[in-house]
């Protein structure tokens, strides 16, 4: 009896799925990383934050960057737009960046240079380049895609009193790091620590989340650092005035506001 056999198979399949999901309480490595990227780069529908950055060289000399970052998510597919305005130091004041990020192709990036009143498009291949001289790359600022790396689950571990999943990620194409270990909070999904290793498997950079706070319903890393272990240079970042779902509109992320900062949001 063919219909009966089909129904039996269907029931068996359903049973198998249910038992699989109850047995595997821990999500897959891809799922952990995906949820972490969502929590870290996509929280809320939009976001406004004032960022203070300290660039500290091995001699202890400090350079500072103060900026406002605006972000909006467009649709569910992962498309995003970023707007970054520099308040200081004096010589870069008024410089702004705009990024249109796509899930399936290279981002579009623009910079506005106020001294020349010039909007310039930046080549898209610089995502591993330093963001304004800091130890963070452009990709660290606006995020990467889960498919850019292969991920494997290593273990569960407590880190500073928080439960974490430890995941190892290896880039699919050759870039400046060969391997990355991430400690991802298994409840809040934020990365609390990341260690990058170079091609010779030597430690390269370390990311640390110093402080995590709840803003509305969103957990946010409000103090973080990135240290280059080979050069001794490090960058410390503090988020202030964090706001989610503040009501940004997509037209802020256009050439008009690149040239003239939206004063309502950039103060």
């Amino acid at each position: 009896m063919k219909p009966f056999r089909d129904i039996t198979l269907l029931l068996l399949a359903a049973l198998a799925m249910v038992s699989a999901s109850t047995r595997a309480a821990d999500p897959s490595a891809e799922e952990i990383v995906k949820r972490s990227l969502d929590a870290f780069y996509y929280a809320g529908h939009d976001m406004r934050v004032k960022v203070r950055m300290k660039l500290i060289n091995p001699q202890g000399n400090v350079r500072e960057r103060e900026l406002t970052m605006l972000r909006i998510n467009l649709g569910k597919a992962g498309e995003q737009r970023y707007y970054i305005y520099f308040h200081g130091p004096a010589d870069v004041k008024g410089t702004s960046f705009m990024v249109w990020k796509y899930p399936d192709k290279e981002s579009d990036r623009w910079i506005y240079i106020p001294a020349l009143k010039l909007v310039k498009r930046i080549a898209a291949d610089d995502k591993r380049s330093s963001f304004v001289g800091s130890d963070f790359t452009y990709e660290d600022v606006s995020g990467r895609n889960v498919e850019d790396e292969t991920h494997s689950f290593l273990r569960k571990q407590d880190l500073g009193g928080r439960p974490t999943y430890v995941v190892e990620s290896r880039p699919k194409t050759v870039i400046d790091y060969s391997r990355r270990l991430s400690w991802i909070d298994s409840e809040r999904w934020l990365p609390l620590k990341e260690e990058y290793f170079d091609a010779r498997n030597e430690p390269l950079r370390t990311f640390t989340a110093y402080k995590v706070e709840l803003t509305g319903t969103q957990w946010t890393v409000v103090a973080r650092g990135m240290k280059n272990l080979q050069s001794g240079h490090r960058t410390e970042v503090v988020y202030q005035e964090v706001g989610y779902d503040v009501g940004l509109k997509p037209d802020i992320f256009t050439e008009r506001y690149l040239r003239d900062a939206p004063r309502q949001w950039v103060r």
Binding site: A90, L116, D126
Partner: protein
């Protein structure tokens, strides 16, 4: 005081008065005024052992101390804002002290439109140091003596109106005429095709309706591409000389331009395309040798990252003369014959070191038609967030008939030190 200096003082004074009148209501209702600025020293030393005519700043074509004050403020809602950027400089190369209003404007902004009135710098087009649809005034003396790049652009005294209907950006600029600052014998050794000994003067435009300049731009995104169209009713900004009543009179002939640009990603880099038509209104048939012939201009550029913190860009640029036969027939004896198509290539290489505190940059113009060149290497070090120094050079070479080659007695090395606050 020369007539030109008197005029600029008058303009500065009237802009300042208008600014202060606008500033008081904004200041009382606003978020306060933020102040900034810098102190800067800039020196350029001629590298060639040239014999300068008397009266030319020979060893140091540029030597100045400059202080800039920038004040800006706006009301809380962001609808009204003001900006003033004033330079006071002691120019020892030509023994002059002057106050310059670099920018001085007021802004009114709404969701769908904005207006800016006053002296303002406007930059259009997608070329890198090659200008087609950007017909706004420029300071070539600052450029050729290695001043920081912002000094290449001069402000226009203008009303700029922007409208933002949907995805497009419409810009209309109504401006008074302002000439380019072009090399003269005060600082440069320039080939002078005009007869010596005759008195000379330039005749600038007043602000009569016939002399007002109107420029328009419309731009929009098309997926990842940016498309823009431009028109300008303007004037040539360097003088065309002719003999009138026993003296040489330089005028700025009328010019209309129309063009378009496109920029977007191709492969791992960015491609830029721009084209324009220069309609020389006072020389429609191309038979007036003192006035530029009508031209088509075009450029294609590509830039991409080579490795981390290093970018390479290149451009090809061409100017195609429309009435070449008429130009050849009317060219005065003794002047070099230009090609119908003047071709220039440019290369830019930029590399950052040490967390972007050190910047090496090389820009080169290569005259493919005129067999000349102009190279600008520079190295900048930022000692701190406030203090940087840059050494560089402006190196002209090749055939002396070419635009860049004719400048080769003016090659120089420069040093700029700036403290910003």
């Amino acid at each position: 005081m020369t007539a030109e200096a008197g005029r600029s003082v008058r303009i500065t004074a009237s802009l300042l008065a208008g600014f202060l009148a606008l500033a008081s209501p904004v200041a009382t209702t606003g978020q306060g005024v933020s102040l900034g600025g810098f102190a800067q020293s800039h020196v350029a030393e001629r590298t060639s052992r040239a014999d300068c005519p008397s009266g030319t700043a020979c060893d140091y074509p540029a030597a100045e101390l400059r202080g800039q004050i920038k004040a800006e403020g706006g009301n809380v809602s962001g609808e009204a804002a003001l900006l003033a950027r004033l330079d006071l400089l002691r120019d020892t190369a030509v023994d002059d002290t002057r106050l310059v209003a670099r920018e001085l404007f007021g802004d009114l902004t709404s969701e769908k439109a904005s207006a800016r009135l006053g002296r303002q710098v406007i930059t259009w087009g997608v070329g890198d140091l090659l200008f087609i649809n950007d017909t706004f005034p420029k300071d070539w003396i600052a450029f050729f003596t290695g001043q920081p790049m912002q000094y290449l652009k001069l402000g226009s005294d203008a009303l700029k109106l922007n409208a933002f209907p949907g995805p497009a950006n419409l810009e209309l600029v109504i401006a008074g005429f302002r000439p380019d600052t072009t090399p003269t014998s005060r600082r440069f050794i320039v080939a002078d095709p005009l007869p010596a000994g005759l008195p000379r003067r330039t005749r600038e435009h007043g602000n009569d309706s016939g002399d007002v300049e109107i420029s328009g731009r419309v731009s929009a995104y098309l997926a990842s591409w940016e498309l823009a169209g431009y028109v300008s009713r303007t004037h040539y900004r360097s003088p065309a000389w002719s003999m009138t009543g026993g003296e040489m009179v330089g005028t700025y002939p009328r010019l209309n331009t129309i063009g378009a640009s496109l920029t977007g990603p191709i492969g791992k880099g960015v491609v830029s395309l721009e084209a324009g038509y220069y309609d020389s209104r006072k020389d429609r048939d191309g038979r007036e040798p003192s006035i530029e012939n009508s031209q088509f201009r075009g450029l294609v550029g590509y830039s991409r990252q080579l490795w981390q913190d290093a970018t390479l860009g290149g451009q090809f640029y061409g100017e195609w003369m429309r009435d070449y036969a008429a130009y050849r027939e009317t060219l005065p004896a003794g002047l070099p014959l230009k090609d119908r198509l003047r071709k220039v290539a440019t290369v830019r290489f930029t590399q950052f070191f040490a967390h972007q505190t050190v910047t090496f940059n090389l820009f080169a113009f290569l005259g493919l038609s005129e067999k000349d060149r102009y190279m600008i290497p520079s190295l900048r070090y930022a000692f701190s967030d406030n203090l940087w120094a840059e050494i560089g050079a402006n190196l002209f070479g090749g055939k002396r008939n070419g635009m860049f080659g004719s400048m080769q007695d003016n090659s120089n090395v420069y040093l700029t030190v700036r403290y910003a606050f």
